[in-house]
């Protein structure tokens, strides 16, 4: 009995330890896809570059178009293998990925975060590889400044710039008896049109984002459009001025639309994704957002392209402007030199070539067009306007975004001053302003003036503590 118990005990221990060790070691490995079609010419193993592809939920055709472009890149660069993953930048998920070290080699971030991430040393320095690009010194200096540190070193490539636009549903306009070819040009007209739409059709005439930091973002858009500023810089000191005239006017406007006209529908906790969803579903007549959302509306929200219209945001008063922003493609700080070089080559191919090289632009437009993806989405120049206009001329045969529907934006944006987002503690400022916007939209008697003063105090203390 004793020997049997010994044997059982020993066997049991061995088995348990083996199973536990196998379970622990097997969980971490990622299998690389087998390299198919790699040419035998290069002596080195192709390096695998992890890049971001599209927003999850984009339709299959969009992914097919992306895969086609990946294939084109791999054919031209046999020493690089692309491994793509779906990706959407949102405040909470980016932090988790950054902290967990799971960001791919190439990922995208908005302008607002670029400078702080550079300061915190969380983006790779790609100055050397960047300077090898032949268009490195033709960038619009304001745009390039978003990816440079104080010494001018480059930490990312600006890939897109956007202004703010007033998006409207042409079909809803028609159904409500409004002319979709003469969209509102003042805030009063927006208010009147919103009331018409909501009275006649029972849907939200005008919607405003209010959640997940987008409330503060769009409130800042509304503030800039009325000549206000959220933060003022004097010397090196930043003062938070959330209770400026522009913001007060904007909140009063929202209050009036919500409580007097009742033209804002019944759902007020909207963020970037859900407002796009509502708009794409024909539940919202008008709203403000970045000028680049067409792709999301068509790909992810299934909107009928014929219903989409975009115009510029009405500007009111001196110092008014449109909030500008953009996207940066950056490299994971943990990437080694080989991966950094490969990353810059990918970013050059996928994000930049179509902006400056005719053949690349045509190929990109053709690929997208064949998969029914949007070509000719409203955008702002990364380099200069001449280059931008030329790139549009090159691809004019493939443009499938009805330029008449967005001409109101394209024609008007040139005349609007582009104002960058507030620099200091932007996301915290937006989060604090979310609360104010939600209060105005859900509480008739919200005292937004004192709430804005609280926001001033709250964000100022964060700035002073830096």
């Amino acid at each position: 009995m004793k020997s049997l118990r010994y044997k059982l005990g020993a066997a049991g221990t061995a088995a348990v330890l083996a199973v536990t060790l196998a379970a622990c070691s097997g969980s971490g490995s990622d299998t690389d896809p087998a390299t198919s079609g790699a040419t035998g010419g290069s002596s080195a193993e192709p390096i695998t570059l992890r890049v971001v592809s599209l927003i999850p939920g984009s339709d299959q055709a969009a992914f097919d178009a992306f895969d086609a472009q990946v294939a084109q890149f791999e054919a031209a660069n046999p020493d690089i293998k692309i491994k793509s993953e779906e990706y959407e930048w949102t405040g909470p998920t980016f932090t988790a990925q950054l902290a967990g070290g799971t960001l791919p080699d190439v990922f995208t971030i908005p302008f607002t975060d670029g400078l702080t991430l550079i300061e915190n040393g969380q983006l790779a320095d790609i100055t050397a590889d960047f300077n090898k690009l032949d268009y490195a010194d033709t960038f619009n200096p304001n745009v390039l400044a978003q990816v440079q540190d104080a010494n001018g070193n480059v930490f990312g490539v600006p890939t897109a710039a956007y202004g703010s636009a007033l998006h409207y549903n042409r079909a809803l306009f028609e159904q409500a008896g409004l002319d979709p070819n003469s969209p509102p040009t003042t805030w009063d007209e927006v208010r009147a049109d919103a009331k018409t739409i909501s009275d006649k059709l029972g849907v939200a005439g005008f919607a405003q984002m209010a959640a997940s930091n987008t409330g503060g973002w769009q409130l800042t858009v509304a503030t800039y459009a009325r000549g206000g500023r959220m933060e003022v810089e004097n010397g090196g000191a930043v003062t938070v001025t959330a209770d400026n005239e522009g913001t007060l006017k904007a909140l009063q406007y929202l209050h009036d639309l919500r409580w007097d006209d009742n033209s804002m529908g019944a759902d007020f906790l909207l963020d970037w994704g859900t407002v796009n969803q509502g708009f794409g579903a024909g539940q919202i007549g008008m709203y403000t957002s970045g000028s680049d959302i067409y792709t999301n509306l068509i790909q992810a929200q299934g909107m009928n392209p014929a219903d989409y219209g975009a115009t510029v945001i009405p500007l009111d008063g001196a110092d008014s402007g449109t909030l500008g922003g953009g996207t940066i493609a950056a490299v994971n700080v943990k990437a080694d030199d080989a991966h950094k070089a490969a990353a810059v080559r990918w970013m050059d191919f996928y994000y930049m070539q179509k902006l400056i090289n005719k053949d690349a632009a045509v190929l990109d437009a053709k690929t997208l067009n064949e998969s029914d993806q949007a070509v000719g989405v409203p955008a702002l120049p990364i380099f200069d306007k001449a280059t931008f206009d030329e790139s549009r001329v090159w691809v004019k045969d493939y443009i499938n975004v009805d330029q008449d529907h967005v001409s109101f934006f394209n024609d008007g944006i040139g005349a609007q001053a582009l104002v960058p987002e507030p620099k200091a503690h932007t996301q915290e400022l937006y989060a604090a302003l979310d609360v104010v916007v939600q209060a105005v939209l859900t509480d008739k008697n919200a005292d937004y003036t004192s709430m804005l003063k609280d926001v001033n105090k709250q964000i100022q203390s964060l700035i002073d503590a830096d």
Binding site: G12, T13, Q427, V436, A439
Partner: protein, 309 residues
């Protein structure tokens, strides 16, 4: 080498041998997976959280700051809002959500036929994945006149309600959805406990002229008090940690009306896209854990008199 140590050493070896031959090794073998799994996934993260609460850290770089995180959290205006809202949620859940499973279980136990069917129906909401349930309820709670609940209210002549769009209605709406999702599990527990109530007590009560409610109050509840006390403290601990409903329904809105402690912890850790304040998040987690631990101790001391164990 003194004779004492050699005797001690011999004793240790003998004791070890006796332990092994007595089956100690196999005991350890069976314990090992438990220790490993709990250690890696449960106790180690708790220890790390404790350490992080005394640091200022973004998980990449960290420095010790002593009690600063606790002070910072305590002085944050959102902290008191979160505590107030969590207490409100727990209170509402107690008043409305605590009796529901008991009444449900009593009703089901009184039914003569199809008891199994009713039990299954009561448990069905628990089986639905919580996120799916919340998305469903979010759709039902649409504030427009054509929303599901508003349409039903319209049939009885009540105007459309804003539900989660209004700061005052938001928390009760969340409690309603949370109770729907969680009551079934407790119903099952009570049903099992009810079988242990001797039927003679009910007969005696009927003889004394007791109606249904008197029987419930004077016979069922005292007999069930052991289970009831446990489920009460479990409910308090559970509702103090509510996260899913505020996060998915309203994101803490409107205007922080549904901001709870767990949601605040989430915001500290994840809301800032430039790196979360994990020190503050873990500090608040520790404060909540300590509070609940003390509450439980006080609770068990206070109810010792009435408990059955």
């Amino acid at each position: 080498m003194s004779s004492t140590t050699s005797r001690q050493r011999v004793t240790v070896v003998t004791r070890l041998t006796r332990w092994i031959t007595g089956g100690g090794l196999s005991t350890l073998t069976f314990l090992l997976p438990l220790l490993l799994i709990f250690g890696i996934f449960s106790w180690w993260p708790i220890l790390r959280a404790g350490v992080m609460s005394f640091q200022e850290t973004n998980l990449v770089t960290s420095q010790w700051v002593g009690f600063d995180n606790f002070v910072k959290v305590f002085h944050d205006p959102s902290f008191f809002i979160a505590v107030k809202n969590t207490a409100y949620f727990a209170l509402l859940a107690l008043v409305f959500g605590y009796p529901v499973p008991l009444i449900g279980a009593v009703l089901i136990s009184e039914v003569r036929r199809l008891k199994g069917l009713y039990t299954a129906l009561a448990y069905l909401p628990v089986v639905v994945p919580p996120v799916v349930a919340v998305l469903l309820w979010k759709f039902f709670y649409s504030g427009s006149a054509t929303g599901v609940f508003n349409t039903v209210l319209g049939w009885v002549g009540i105007g459309p309600q804003p539900w989660i769009q209004d700061a005052h209605m938001a928390m009760p709406s969340l409690v309603l959805a949370a109770t729907w999702g969680a009551a079934g599990g407790t119903v099952i527990i009570y049903l099992a406990a009810l079988t242990s109530v001797p039927p003679e007590l009910y007969d005696a009560a009927e003889v004394d002229g007791a109606g249904i409610w008197r029987k419930l109050w004077n016979v069922t509840m005292p007999q069930l008090r052991g289970v009831l006390f446990i489920t009460l403290i479990l409910q308090i601990i559970g509702t103090a940690q509510v996260f899913l409903e505020p996060f998915l329904f309203t994101g803490g809105g409107p205007a922080n009306a549904t901001l709870t402690i767990l949601l605040l912890i989430y915001r500290y850790a994840f809301q800032n896209s430039l790196g979360g304040d994990y020190g503050a998040a873990t500090a608040l987690s520790l404060m909540l854990a300590a509070f609940l631990a003390i509450l439980s101790l006080v609770y068990f001391q206070a109810t010792k008199r009435w408990s059955t164990s």
